[in-house]
């Protein structure tokens, strides 16, 4: 569980300029990330940034972005925080569960689970 090889860690923190926390307002593991369409894409984007912008043309939860990038969640969050600051993605703040899950969604979830 404890990483013994510091190599990957150093490389990962290189991606974030050594930062372990994202800039700006914090966001949840399942906050929805969406690429801002039509935004100007700076030429100096690193491959991970481009991968996020491509993936999140479809609204995608933070956890899934991390899985696609094969990066730890907090590294992913630093990257997403940077992209948000540049205005390239939006990260929707999850609404309280009680407000989001109405009768219709409840039925959909139950039906979805049962038909798995």
């Amino acid at each position: 569980m404890t990483g013994e090889d510091p190599g990957p860690l150093l490389r990962l923190f290189g991606l974030t300029g050594g930062r372990a926390r994202p800039q700006g307002e914090t966001f949840d593991l399942v906050a929805i990330v969406t690429t801002v369409s039509g935004s100007y894409e700076p030429a100096e984007l690193i491959p991970e940034h481009r991968a996020v912008l491509s993936l999140c043309q479809k609204p995608t939860p933070v956890a899934d972005v991390a899985a696609h990038l094969k990066l730890p969640l907090n590294i992913t969050r630093v990257i997403l925080g940077d992209l948000r600051r540049e205005g390239l993605v939006t990260i929707e703040r999850p609404r309280p569960v009680a407000q989001t899950i109405d009768e219709r969604i409840y039925r959909e979830v139950l039906h979805g689970l049962r038909s798995l």
Partner: protein, 193 residues
């Protein structure tokens, strides 16, 4: 960009919703197995990098001088439809990662506390945690092969659980069984029954 964004999901922006469900319980009780049984993707295993000094602090300074450690986090996904997902997060087992629970629990629909009747006490911390935070939870008693069936009433007494909290006997390797646990949780969390 508009022309490149030909993915059909681009219109789902307004309604996209990811519902978070936590799977908690003692070490080795079957959390990852449960996620794997029901997830449409192989449980995704990510490692959280933690800088010990930065824990709980908004820290944007360099990490060179800090001790770093990793904590594994497994999660799985169930797509209900385009733009509506359930995410199952297996909570880290070790007590020293409690602070991660706070983040995981925030905004969660609810939790499944998995219990192994041979080591019931292992799930006490999880039960306490969710009770204190007011996170709806159900208890899934994982009936390992060969283990005798347990009387849910005994489990309820041993865990000092409120009468309203559902207890489900389950086998986390069985899809139907995991579906039953999750539908019980969703109904309990939404309807209170």
């Amino acid at each position: 960009m508009d022309y490149a964004a030909s993915e059909p999901g681009a219109t789902a922006v307004a309604s996209a919703l990811a519902i978070k469900i936590l799977i908690a319980g003692g070490f080795g009780v079957g959390k990852t197995t449960m996620v794997g049984t029901i997830s449409e993707i192989r449980p995704l295993h990510t490692e959280e990098l933690l800088s010990e000094r930065g824990i709980g602090v908004d820290d944007t300074s360099g990490v060179e001088s800090k001790t770093t450690t990793t904590v594994a986090l497994d999660f799985g996904r169930i797509t209900i439809r385009e733009g509506l997902w359930l995410y199952l997060f297996g909570t880290p087992g070790q007590d020293r990662f409690w602070f991660m629970w706070d983040e995981l629990a925030l905004g969660a629909l609810g939790a499944v506390v998995l219990a192994d009747t041979r080591r019931l006490e292992d799930c006490f911390p999880a039960v306490d945690y969710f009770e204190q935070r007011g996170v709806p939870f159900v208890v899934g008693v994982n009936c390992f092969e060969g283990a005798r069936r347990y009387d849910p009433a005994k489990v309820r007494r041993a865990l000092a659980l409120n009468e309203s909290i559902p207890i489900v006997l389950c086998d986390v390797r069985e899809r139907e069984s995991v579906k039953e646990v999750l539908t019980t949780l969703v109904t309990y969390a939404v309807k209170g029954v």
